[in-house]
């Protein structure tokens, strides 16, 4: 079969299976879902009907409930919870999303996602305004932020290029080493990165008269960015590129034989995840109001992995779920257990998840739901995800 024909078939089959897949993952009310009829093989569904179907599915689905909850949340929660729990989960979730995209759909576990976020954060500090007037260039935000994101995407592409030419298992080691190299660079260099002190007083700009660092505006900003990232990932994995990437994850040799450039797809995946991590990094710099070597040290590199695995790398929502659990533990642990033993708790939870539920909390949920459902329906033509 020619590659183009195969791609078309994958497109239509993917759209159909995605509908069935979404119904099977985490749903408890399958009767409300209206799966669209699978198009005949070879027939290309038109873009317009595709979008309309998607919109209809969205409105009828639980996604709307969650979205409403997220929007209403800051109105009922205290500013502290909105900012420290809500916004921080969204921002960390975005960075973890970039990792779970690479890991879940690309099969490459990169520990350098926080590094990419750090590059973006430092870039926005150096190019924009910070406490170190002799370092910061003072560019306006609408120049500094896009340039910072571009720099971070380039960095991510470079990291990807360095990491993809070897086996998958090397990726963890190599990205960890690169991440630590960046940490030492920003720690030791004072002329650009201001070394140990880092760059402080990083504020989002006052646009449209709104102070964007206030809890509710910042939460809204993070929510919009997080939703955009989520939608981007969901869309990309059903696009030809995403399908090819998953194919490369499963069997690179076969994909290569089919004519796909394995290296190019992987590097492009790194670039895309770099985009998400970069936006997350800029938001993180604004959230912390500072960028220091501690933000990109080994601890945080591993924490992002913990967050992604905690939630489950198979679905983009897992990253945000993991981030929420992580932030809740981090913020309220001192009230419940010894804050000093936070690492033990989070490490233990991570270990438990990897040992007993490698798909993370989402996987646990899916299994629970499947078990509950199996009691009801004896016959079902819905393909259950394992």
């Amino acid at each position: 079969m020619a590659a183009a024909q195969w791609r078309k078939a994958m497109n239509s089959a993917a759209a159909a299976s995605a509908a069935r897949g979404r119904a099977a993952t985490g749903s408890s009310m399958p009767v409300h879902r209206v799966p669209p009829a699978a198009p005949a093989p070879g027939e290309v569904p038109s873009a317009a009907s595709d979008v309309w179907n998607e919109l209809w599915r969205f409105v009828a689905s639980r996604n709307l409930v969650v979205l409403l909850a997220l929007v209403v949340f800051p109105l009922v929660a205290s500013p502290f919870v909105t900012f420290q729990v809500g916004a921080q989960s969204l921002v960390l979730g975005m960075i973890a999303l970039s990792l779970s995209f690479l890991a879940g759909y690309g099969g490459m576990i990169s520990l350098a996602q926080m590094t990419v976020a750090g590059v973006a954060g430092y870039a926005v500090a150096v190019l924009g305004h910070s406490s170190s007037a002799e370092i910061s260039l003072g560019w306006p935000w609408w120049v500094a932020v896009p340039v910072a994101v571009v720099i971070a995407v380039l960095a991510s592409t470079l990291i990807g290029w360095l990491s993809v030419r070897t086996e998958g298992i090397y990726t963890i080691m190599i990205t960890l080493a690169i991440g630590v190299a960046f940490y030492y660079l920003v720690l030791q260099n004072y002329s650009v990165f201001n070394g140990f002190q880092g760059l402080r007083e990083l504020k989002p700009p006052t646009v449209l008269g709104i102070q964007w660092r206030d809890p509710v505006p910042f939460y809204a900003l993070s929510l919009v960015c997080a939703l955009a990232a989520y939608w981007l990932v969901c869309h990309v994995v059903r696009a030809p590129f995403g399908i090819a990437l998953q194919g490369i994850r499963d069997n690179p040799r076969r994909m290569s034989a089919l004519g796909y450039s394995v290296v190019a797809h992987r590097v492009a995946a790194y670039a895309l995840s770099g985009l998400i991590a970069a936006v997350g990094g800029v938001l993180l710099a604004w959230y912390n109001a500072l960028m220091s070597p501690g933000s990109v040290g080994t601890g945080w590199l591993i924490n992002i992995l913990v967050i992604a695995v905690l939630g489950g790398v198979r679905h983009p929502a897992g990253a945000f779920l993991g981030a929420l659990v992580f932030v809740l533990l981090q913020t309220f642990a001192i009230d419940l257990i010894d804050r000093e033993r936070f690492n033990l708790v989070i490490g233990g939870v991570f270990l438990a998840i990897v040992l007993f539920s490698p798909d993370g909390l989402l996987g646990l949920w899916a299994r629970l739901a499947a078990r509950l459902r199996s009691g009801r329906a004896l016959t079902s033509n819905q393909r259950r995800q394992p």
Partner: protein, 420 residues
Amino acid sequence: MKVTTTKRIWVRSIVGAAAATALWGGAWAQQGQPVKIGLLATLEGPFAAGGADGMRGAELAVKQRGGVVAGRKIEVIKASSDAKPDVAVNSTRKLVEQDKVDIMVGPLSGGEGIAVKDYSKTQPQVTFINGGSGAQGTTLTNPSPNFFRFNTDGGQWMVGLGKAALAKGYKRTMVIAEDYAFPYSQVQGFMAEYCKAGGKVPVKAWVPLGGKDYSSVIATIPKDVDALLVVLGGADAVNFLTQYENAGGDKPMLGGSITVSQDVLNYKGKRRDSLVGTLSAGPLADAYDGADWKAFVADYQKTYPVSAGGFPSPSLFAYVYYVNMKAALDGLAAVNGDLSGNQAKYREALSKMTLKTPNGDVRLDGNRQAIGTTFVTEVVKDSQGNLFNKVHSKVDNVDQLLGMKAEEFKIGSRDVPACP
């Protein structure tokens, strides 16, 4: 997704209940209500032992008042960090915005102090008092109107050492220190005096943070220096001494404020006797025979015996946290517990008061930075052959500019000051 929603509902309702209670409770007059003091120290990471002792020092100050000040009960809410500025700000934010503390005491490390100072500018309704951080920039550059530091900074801790070193005949000194803000301030404090009086520092060796291999640095020690100024933590100093001795080195040492600690005094190497005469400087001296100091040490040892995890003698961290917490409480007593009007009276009391500490009086300067006492100590051997730090001299009224004019004072960095 349901997990998230459920969790969100749970969190929201708890928070809503807490907010309602806080609103309702806060509507009352403050008289008689407990005063909430947040306490932040590094309980994780490399400074964990110091952070734990810092908390002990702060709690000692509370215990000395019986847990009550001006008729109000003292409620201490603890938080921890791991010497990273962003974690410190997160923990502080929780204490200030979630637990709604009135006064905040902390943090411990220099980098955290600067980040918390930045945060304090966004929370004008809370008074922030330092814990143990000793970075010069905290109160010198862009000071915050509600951030008070009742302990002297790293540079102030070295005043007097330069003169003492020259008096011993050390005309050329090499500096070996870790490459970050606190050692910079210590070296600056030493060199400001030393260079002015004619001393020379031909080489400064900045060891990367966390590095334990001093062999290369030791190899670069020139033959013609008279002494080595070693600004490393106590245990790292032992490491350095061992490696130095093994490499055949024999030059005398000058110590930073945390260098000549119990670890170094218990050094069992062959060159132990050469440690006698080592000069050092800091805000306290274990063997100081002032009555207030002795009473403080006895109180610490009684409240926190070694079996319960205390140190044999209060450490630097215990002392500075004690001083800062004592200041917070003394200020409260001075205004009779009145924190109304955005704590205006309280802050004025803090700015104007003379704090009585175990080592003398402390006042604040225009940037709310302490002016206090520095001790220069010397290692001596007692009759049983044990080494201890004897007080060599005492310098009072050390201010943050080290007696220099504002124009000539420069915050310490890798290359500043320099007198090769």
